[in-house]
């Protein structure tokens, strides 16, 4: 069995080795270039029509509709009215940690144990994953690589998606500690007679999930209290790596990412803001609209993991998941939108934002949810997230509305000013078979 998988994998990876290997990370950008005649979506809600941006040494040096461009220069690209966006940021992802969801050998997202604050996703990030380039093709240039877990899962890191290895990819390292909260919701057990299709009984096994979950959360508080005390302990007899891994939380160098869905979970999570003053992000948050004002009050931000979802309950508004973003916006909550669909591996991020725009958000607000606001939550807004002076030139150019699959068509992308190769495995395979059927002329050098 194991052998079969291994050999199958080997065969598979050999067959597309060529595909991935033709895509080289771009070289460091030096000097200046201009992108002109674009509809520039800044990422902060503003739009510049017929705008120009100037990039120098990987940074945005100027942006506006009145930037002078040297005449006859060969470093000017006329975008001919195309839309220009900040590089999209995928706020939660197992990118580079899981290659094929059902093949165990390719799974590096979930470590054993319930208290893994020192586990770091960045060291397992495979910058040669075949998935990466398919995301870039849809405008995603940065991703937060998040470990999965049963409770305290480890730290996430933000990576840029054009790199030789994880060290090159690292954009902000270990900045988020991820806690997967217990559900605090009773679940039925299937104790019925065989062949039955009804719902099982509640509370048959495993005791009271609410009580147990709350105890677990109390245990986590106790852990943080000790971790805090440990910092000031002068006569440490033993080094505690777990305590050391969370020092950043107290120093506000890290954020606490609470993976939580229900109002009750979120209310419990607020304790960590109140007692420890942590900067907190709720991940998932499909029920966050119910406590939006409290989130605002406590400066807690939200990553909506998947607007393309079914409503939680049958009684809910059929479009509730589509409307949640607008409700958070109305309450003034800082939020971003993610796409954690394991079938499509995140490439529909922009369309999840588009749906939020269809159901109450302004289009530029929806864009901010996957650019500037995501950057703010991730703590990288000083470097990226918007087309603003001094930031990294992380830029996407599309010949149509990036949020609408009907028009979205990424024609160019830049990471830190480097123009990246938008070839991906899918384009190459498409190309290969279009040639088989003579649907297009043979590609050069193919």
């Amino acid at each position: 069995m194991q052998k079969i998988i291994v050999s199958a994998l080997l065969t598979a990876s050999l067959s597309c080795l060529q595909a991935q290997e033709t895509v080289l990370p771009a070289k460091e950008q030096k000097g200046s270039f201009y992108l002109t005649n674009a509809t520039i979506h800044i990422g902060n809600g503003k739009v510049v029509q017929k705008g120009t941006i100037k990039v120098t040494n990987g940074k945005i040096e100027a942006v506006g509709d009145n930037i002078s461009v040297p005449a006859g220069a060969d470093n000017v690209t006329d975008l001919k009215g195309q839309d220009l966006y900040p590089g999209l940021i995928l706020p939660t992802s197992t990118l580079g940690l899981i290659e094929i969801s059902s093949v165990r050998a390719t799974q590096d997202a979930r470590e054993i144990g319930e208290l893994n604050p020192s586990v770091r996703s960045i060291v397992a990030y495979n910058s040669d994953s075949k998935v990466i380039n398919t995301l870039r093709s849809n405008g995603i240039l940065l991703a937060n690589v998040v470990p999965q877990g049963n409770f305290v899962a480890g730290t996430s890191s933000v990576v840029q998606l054009d790199a030789w290895n994880w060290e090159d990819a690292a954009y902000k390292t270990d900045a988020g500690l991820h806690v997967y909260m217990p559900s605090l919701l009773p679940r039925p057990s299937f104790g019925g007679r065989g062949g039955g299709f009804g719902m099982g009984n509640f509370g048959g096994q495993g005791g009271d999930p609410v009580k147990e979950g709350l105890e677990k959360m109390e245990g986590l508080k106790a852990f943080f209290r000790e971790a805090k005390a440990y910092q000031s302990l002068t006569d440490r007899k033993a080094t505690n790596l777990k305590f050391e891994a969370v020092i950043g939380l107290f120093e506000k160098k890290q954020k606490l990412y609470m993976h939580a869905t229900t109002a009750k979970q979120i209310l419990v999570a607020l304790d960590f803001v109140k007692e420890f003053g942590f900067e907190m992000v709720i991940v998932g948050g499909s029920e966050s609209y119910q406590v939006a004002d409290l989130l605002k009050q406590h400066d807690v931000s939200v990553i909506l993991q998947q607007p393309h979802s079914l409503p939680t309950a049958g009684d809910d508004d059929v479009d509730q998941p589509y409307k949640t973003a607008a409700q958070l916006k109305k309450a003034g909550v800082l939020f971003s939108i993610s796409d954690d669909d394991s079938q499509t591996r995140g490439r529909n991020l922009a369309f999840n934002a588009g749906t939020a725009a269809a159901y109450g958000l302004d289009k530029e607000e929806a864009l901010a949810a996957i650019t500037l606001n995501a950057a703010r939550i991730m703590g990288v807004a000083d470097k990226t997230g918007s087309i603003e002076i001094g930031k990294d030139a992380n830029i996407v150019v599309s010949s149509g509305d990036l949020l609408d699959m009907r028009n979205s068509n990424v024609t160019a992308a830049y990471i830190q000013g480097r123009k990246i190769d938008l070839t991906d495995k899918h384009k190459l395979l498409s190309d290969r078979f279009e040639q088989k059927y003579e649907l297009k002329a043979p590609r050069k050098g193919f």
């Binding site: 093949v103 998935v131 062949g195 009804g198 009750k264 499509t344 529909n348």
Partner: protein, 1050 residues
Amino acid sequence: MRFYKLFIWMLLLSATYAVQGQPTFPENGVADPRSGFFVFTHATIVKDAGNTLQDATLVIRDGRILAIGSGLSVPVGAVEIDCKGKFIYPSFIDLYADYGIPSSQQRPAGQPFDFFRSAQLETNQKGPYGWNQAVRSEQQAHTVFTSDESKAKALRELGFGTVLSHIRDGIARGTGTLVTLANEKENLIILKDRATAHYSFNKGSSTQSYPSSMMGNISLLRQTYLDAQWYKSQPQEEGYNMTLKTWNENQSLPQIFEANDKWNDLRASRIGKEFGVQFILKAGQNEYQRISEMKGLGTSFILPLNFPAAQDVEDPAEARFVALNDMKHWELAPSQPAAFEKAGIPFALTTADLSSVSQFARNLQKAREYGLSDTKIIEALTKTPAEILGVYDRVGSLEKGKLANFLITTGPLFQDKTVLLQNWIQGIKYAIKEDAGNVAGTYQLVVTTQGGKENYTLEVKSAGAATLYAKDTLLSRFSFDGKQLKIYYAPAPVRQRPTMDSTRARGAGMGARFSGMAEQPLPLTATRLSGVANGNEWNGVGSDSLGNPLTWTATLVKQGAITIDSVRKKDLPAVGKVVYPFLPFGWEEGQQPRSETILIRNATVWTNEAQGVIKNADVLLKDGKIAAVGQGLAVPTDANVIDGTGKHVTAGIIDEHSHIAAASINEGGQSVTSEVRISDNLNPDDINIYRQLSGGVTTSHILHGSANVIGGQTQLIKLRWGANDEGLKFANWPGQIKFALGENVKRSASPNGNNRYPDTRMGVEQVLIDAFTRAKDYQKQWQDFETARKAFEASKNKKLLTAPVAPRRDLELDALVEILEKRRFITCHSYVQSEINGAMEVANKMGYTVNTFTHILEGYKVADKMKEHGSFASTFSDWWAYKMEVEDAIPYNAAIMHKVGLTVAINSDDAEMARRLNQEAAKVVKYGGVTEEEALKMVTLNPAKMLHVADRVGSLLPGKDADVVVWSDHPLSIYAKSLYTIVDGTIYFDRKKDEELQQKVDQERTRLVRKMNGEKRSGAPVIPAQPSYQLMHSCHDHGHSHGLLVIDIE
């Protein structure tokens, strides 16, 4: 005088005797034969629900009724029992009692199906049984029946005299036996050994993999009917098959099916109808939700009385996850028996499904409060069950010659103060409660202690309640059982009101009573009296507060008045309405949308026909069909006019691959299960029908899952929200069947490996070849038989010839023959090029076509071969990398296949994505540059083609079904919303109306949460809030999470 009568009653109570001993059994001692000759006089006798005799006489002897009527003379030699003031009723019958089946027969349940567990493909039952462990028609309850006095007593106390018992194990459960609840040897109490035959949809203790689904259960039953019929021809190759033999023997009995659910009632009845069997249905709790369908079955029901408990929904965060329909069900379930009565559906009542039979009286009372009449209750507990069993000549009413099974009560049954005194079974008396007579009155109590006499006044209200006075009221307890009595008393604590209601909450009568009052505890130093009634005087002994002995006497000084229940006509409880379906957003009766004439004006119309996209055009829908498409159509007078300005109109979306609205999806028990049918187990109570309407879906192809190579027969449905299972079906549709290849069928994801053939793609090919080879042989067998049969029919000297014997009908092979004869089409789950080519090669060899390759994510690699084979392709827009075999899946797949010339559809295979299929189609423009019109066809016209219904749906062509969507925006845009989704000219989703429905949902929730909270505050028992999880089926192909309250199952 009054006490004299009472005394006689008490004597009777103590006079237990045995019926005549069995002649074949030796007697250890002196024989004591008695004839049980009794005459009950001056009674109110309720012979049956419709006949009551006043001041009547009942004569019984040898366990039977000898005579019954008014003005009968007392026969010589009978013991007379004066029943003045008493009522006599026929005792009750329970058709679903759990009585007398020893625990050794109650084998543990087999584990629920688990896709990953190793398969048990054959029966592990030793002996000459049939092939499937879940078919247990050889079970005979009477052969294991063992009387059980403790259980019998509990049932007798409720008034039952006769019960039907069977072994509740298996899909076929063998025969039930009718017994009385007399405490006698089994020989004497079995009234009918093989009284009934029993069936269910629960495989019980069977550990065999098949069946693992509702569809499989149904197919197994159908196949067994066929096999049993065939077995009658004594086929040599089958040998001796005890299961089939007994199955046949059981057919002449009343057939009882434990369905336990409204849709299962319909499913069971359909099986019955196919094989000429009228099942009596053991119901569940929710049949009231489809009462007209129940009525339409024209059969009798056995109704349990287990009503859902109120939930503790005081915490809004917990109430949030309790669904409206669960709360509505809590409110409405007790009205089920009344709903059956109102609808005129015959039914019996049972103690089944209650966690304790003692709840029966209380729940019966509740059903009564919700409108069930007393007459109907009596009928449902006596005549109806007797008639169902065909034993009304023996039990079920009080008639000459019938069994002496009757109840003696103090008043009309089911009234609060009525006490069931005795339950006579087969002429044997079982005392239930002692008759305290009219004990009420004022007594002079004299207690003689060492210190002298103390005088008290005892005011007795009933056998269980009295007040004791000296100067002040004392704290006391009183009880009297008709013979013995007890009195405890102590000085009352200051300022505390004494209460003495010792019957509190015990349900002394048939009606349950509750009292919120807490009893004052008696101090340990209370004086204790006990004694015996002797006529008008009570005498006894006792012990005072210091423990000194005493004697006492109580003498009646004033008789109390007999209190008679005032029969109050209570108003029916106010409850919400049943909605269709029984879900949020369901329609109230009469509010269901109807087909109407609709004119959509001035819209951008995507015809999917030669006219292409027409701007500023109108679409007219009439009589459920598209009547006209064009510019400037005249407005019919009765038309509902929809302003389409700035809007787009398309044909309704058709999802080629869906798993909604079914009770089960995967029959994973075997590698070939072509006999199972999704159509057998549609589930109209799926909220996803409504949600998908909101996304413009009008037709969905409900596929069997991909657990096996040859899966089950699929069903095309229209999303007619509120319709029943038959009403969902797409009429006159040539059937399809699901096949599957690759990882799922070889169970690659199973952590424990796989023991079910095939384990490789090589084996998959062999399974296909083997199945179709068998199908061809089978086809020929039948052809040969038909030829021989015709020759035989035509022959003039038939007597000299042997009539040809029909081959065994095999439902599995029937479906495959349909494929070979092009009457059924394949949709084949497939991923990688090798298996796709392999499947086509087998098809070519065997002479069939793979109609549709579904998923087909490597279709772009073999599109030319698929075109040559004549296949359609139905795929995802952009899924990949969730398992090994989709590693080369690319979003350009659909475009390439389209460009090579295949008819391509984009499907969902997912309840969530189905709501956005228009946008999924848009991705085919994005990835591969297909035109927008062609892309839209991939979710409308193209799936219609591969489903062979393109003449009916898929485009806006006059004459086609009026399945239409009005979009707010360009239909391929992320910003597009369905404003109206119309099926057959009926607006099933209207975005404005949806807001109203949502408000109703919220209001109804608020009302019910308050009502449940009221229940809790009134002191009624509540259970913790139970989140309403939804089971969601998938083809077991991907790990798409559907949220907090969804449990993904096979």
